[in-house]
Symmetry: C2
Subunit: 245 residues, 2 copies
């Protein structure tokens, strides 16, 4: 059985540490760790330490860090997901799946026909929980929610921007990716349930976003986001495999 | 706004009908339809009718069918998803996303390290709800839960069987699909959280399943299933687009 994983943002490379608060509570009450048990910490920026429980105190859990390494199972592509907000637990699911599938950055997109964002702290917790579970040591960056105009200004940072919004001019994702063989960073835009407004769409397109689709069906926000990330990840997983041969 | 969609398995092509039970309750209490309102029925096997509310009675809702057509937004590939059971609401999500993304048949797979299936009736309801929402008029078939030995015997019905189970011999999905260009039906196998046992893996491999992966990470059951279906769908969406040019 894999040792339990915990998120601790500021870790020393070795020595003894004291963990307090939520993570300490989780160790004792949920994971039921005992003195001598091993565990893994990650700092969300690519560092992972193995540690052993020394003892429990009133103030928290005392641990000894055994060894620290850097690394995380990451995609060969950097994906920014700028997505409209999905409703309630659907947004939680979206965030969890985006983290598991390797998204590097999430931009909650405030579209005119979309939902208002929930708590950023809650979103961040979902991302960290997903990374605990799936073994990623890098937690996706979460930006402040941004309106379409602001998001359009971020598109240029990536090699290729994809606009997942149902429309007659959307080309199959695979075809778009094949037409842009050098792209190493992808900016994926997912619109709200009712679609982007014509003005928003024009704004994003003139900033360079290419309309793309992964399915002939009209998908929910979270389905479109997860499917887009999964398909992009699968293509680059193949590229990475080719290069290591 | 799109008219509300309702699932009714046995529909006449025209005339007046009486809807009772859950769907009638849903029309009145949840969708708050009124006499004169339009709605859409689908039978789950590719038939869709537009109807108008005539009146509400004690026994149910009286409707007039205006016109009926056949058709459904389906993928250019037939996907069977034989998946281990995901935990609680994660299985609901898996089923919903599989239906939205166009899976044709779902086989709940009883793996040795996996979970026991929940209620088949509940699963079917999830699939129907997803089709209501996404506009598919065909509800995926749901088979009885089947152990690995039985599932291995079903593999031969498809052109290509993919085994999504983390292992050193898994090749990138895109590469496997490219090596099998004629495949028009895909059998996607997704193992439980702890993976298939060596014996199960051998059983599935000797039945012809090819180990494949969509991500470098170890994914949860529902993440692997959704990602696999999304990536396969994206590839065939591209194939379909090429053929209509």
């Amino acid at each position: 059985m894999q040792p339990a994983r915990f998120f601790v943002p500021d870790l020393p490379d070795g020595g003894k540490i004291l963990i307090k608060g939520d993570e300490a509570h989780h160790m004792v009450r949920v994971r039921r760790l005992r003195p001598g048990d091993l565990m893994v910490f990650f700092d969300g920026r690519g560092r992972q330490s193995e540690a052993r429980v020394e003892k429990f105190g009133k103030v928290g859990v005392f641990l000894e860090i055994l060894h620290t390494r850097r690394g995380s199972p990451e995609l060969a592509v950097s994906i920014t997901l700028a997505t409209a907000i999905a409703k309630g637990s659907r947004m939680d699911f979206l965030l969890e799946k985006a983290a598991e599938l390797g998204v590097g950055r999430i931009v909650p997109l405030l579209a005119q026909r979309g939902m208002v964002q929930g708590s950023g702290e809650h979103y961040l917790r979902r991302l960290r929980e997903a990374c605990k579970q799936c073994g990623r040591n890098i937690v996706p960056d979460l930006t402040a929610p941004a309106p379409v105009g602001e998001v359009a200004g971020m598109i240029g940072e990536s090699d290729l921007a994809l606009l997942f919004d149902p429309g007659p001019d959307a080309r199959p994702l695979m075809e778009v990716l094949r037409s842009n063989p050098g792209a190493k960073s992808i900016f994926a835009l997912v619109g709200p349930e009712g679609g982007f407004t014509e003005k928003e769409r024009e704004h994003l397109r003139s900033a360079g976003a290419v309309p793309a689709r992964v399915s002939p069906a009209v998908l929910r926000v979270e389905t479109a986001a997860i499917a887009a990330v999964a398909a992009v990840a699968a293509v680059f997983e193949n590229e990475a495999a080719k290069q290591t041969r």
